[in-house]
Amino acid sequence: MSRLSLVWSSLFRRKIRTLLTLLSVVVAFLLFGLLRSVADAFTVGVDIAGVDRLVVSPKYSIIDPLPIAHLNQIAAVSGVTAVTQAGWFGGIYQDRSKFFPKYPVDPRGYFELYPEYRIDPAQLDAFAATRIGAVAPKQLAEEFGWQIGDRIPIEADIWPKRGGDRNWEFELVGVYDAPTLEVQPVEFLFQYDYFDEARQYGTGGVGWFIVRVDDPAHSAEVARTIDALFENSPNATRTATEAEFAMQFANQVGDIGLMMTGILGAVFFTILLLTANTMAQALRERIPELAVMKTLGFTDVGVATLVLGEAMLLCLLGGMFGLCIAVALEHQIAIAIKGILPTFSISAGTLIMGALLAAGLGIAVGLVPALRARRLAIVDALRGH
């Protein structure tokens, strides 16, 4: 028997209670691993160098439209080989629970910028030629059972038609997919020209531009040039990588980092109370045992260390299991949210912070019982006082 096995045996003297407490610590650290990584993903800087596709969006707010006239100016920037536009339509198909993103685009321009999207050339021609034409990702079409030629009704929640009609109808003329990508596209695409002519307001505006540069090495320079071009105009721009743009987009819902910190704070405060209560209860039950250990020759500090060791062991075990599960889930989660958070990953920093937090939690919940154990007077404790 070692001191560690003594601590282990004492910790599991009430197995169910300890396992339930351990489980709650595991869940807390699983959440920590995942939510901290999500928060990191929202704040991480994405290196602009080395990418050949950039997104030009409004500098101050993603809901401010950019004029379509920017397109020609961007196209004229040295190093830009192609540019197209897209925008956020919103809209409701059947009901809000069946949400998918819908973008008004230039058909040929969009597919030229995204060569990884595969579409039958004849269907792309039909898309370009059909005023109310639309194409859908293959998965989406299969999910809703859409066939080529179907009419897809979308109710506008942002963009009503002239005259206030909120019902838009698109004709499905093609489907596309991206066989080389791990994450399949989800955007329902329709003609920008039709949308721009038919909408009630905002004519001539777009949500963002997508730009291809001739050489990834020029990306940073091209981005600076584009932003400088519009810097003093009412429609200043911010040029970023697609990854950063996606994060900005997701950040529109609020300060994700702060939300995550708030959630984690609440979780850990609860865990702190729960675990501290468990440790305090465990100490109360064992006062005569601790007195006996002191009688046998364990010093006050020695007994306090054993009690603190139990709290530390509980929290470190819970932390380790929780973080290990988070790491095990990392890949699947990263794939699932790649469209929103392309930089999601559990960093070494998060794991180190988690380990330190587990140790800190152990000290926080174990310190008071340990000090009580240290102060325990043998004679009083043996008498049951």
């Binding site: 003594l6 020759g297 006050d300 043996l382």
Partner: protein, 228 residues
């Protein structure tokens, strides 16, 4: 014979609220090495307090307590703990074994405070269990043992570090007559064959008859000392 316990002018008072209670009053006592002494007296006479002072788990209000050549009243809490680990074995009325540990591990517990290697600790624990006749129960937890067996494990724990002195507080108080006799025979054996000095608090005259000497306490003072 040399004195293993020497108390001079020992007084112990406790404060309960505003009241000061004198539990031991000016005790002088000498116990020789190798003796087996029974401490008797009515409840509240100070038997257990005297035992606690000799065992180094309590300190006198005044007077000197010298045990195994060490002035306990001058030792710090930490030094006392180390001293207890080296020189004293305790046996309690209610055994006070750790319920999460097996008999062998309960016995091994005091050896965690020594520098012995794990294998040696285990061997010593098994030897102690053999002395008390429980080597076949080494892997049982206290809840799986009878009261008598638990007290034997407690005695094995008390002797495993080869202490100079065993202090026993009502070791048979929770046992039936025949089991109590077995435990008392065991203590006698430890005294006679292994040379352990034993001080035992008891209410039971039959238990006291196993000792070489009996000390009577009443109202905090020694009233008689006689051979058993």
């Amino acid at each position: 014979m040399t004195a293993i316990v020497k108390l001079e002018g020992v007084t112990r008072t406790y404060v309960r609220g505003k009241e000061e209670i004198k539990v031991l009053d000016d005790i002088d006592l000498t116990i020789e090495r190798g003796d087996f002494v029974a401490l008797m007296g009515p409840s509240g006479s100070g038997k257990t307090t005297l035992l606690n002072l000799v065992g180094g788990i309590d300190q006198p209000t005044s007077g000197s307590v010298e045990v195994v050549g060490e002035r306990l009243d001058r030792l710090s809490s930490k030094a006392l703990a180390k001293w207890r680990a080296a020189h004293i074995g305790f046996v309690f009325q209610f055994y006070n074994l750790l319920p999460v540990l097996t008999a062998e591990r309960n016995v091994e517990l005091p050896l965690l405070l020594t520098k012995l290697k794990r294998a040696q600790r285990k061997a010593n624990a098994l030897t102690a269990l053999k002395i008390v006749g429980l080597e076949d129960r080494a892997n049982h937890k206290p809840g799986e043992l009878s009261g008598g067996q638990q007290q034997r494990v407690a005695i094995a724990r008390a002797i495993v570090a080869d202490p100079d002195l065993l202090v026993c507080d009502e070791p048979t108080g929770d046992l039936d007559r025949s089991t109590a006799d077995e435990i008392l025979d065991l203590l006698e054996l430890l005294n006679r064959e292994h040379g352990k000095t034993i001080i035992m608090v008891t209410h039971d005259p039959k238990a006291a008859s196993h000792a070489r000497h009996t000390l009577q306490l009443d109202k905090g003072g020694l009233v008689a000392a006689a051979p058993a």
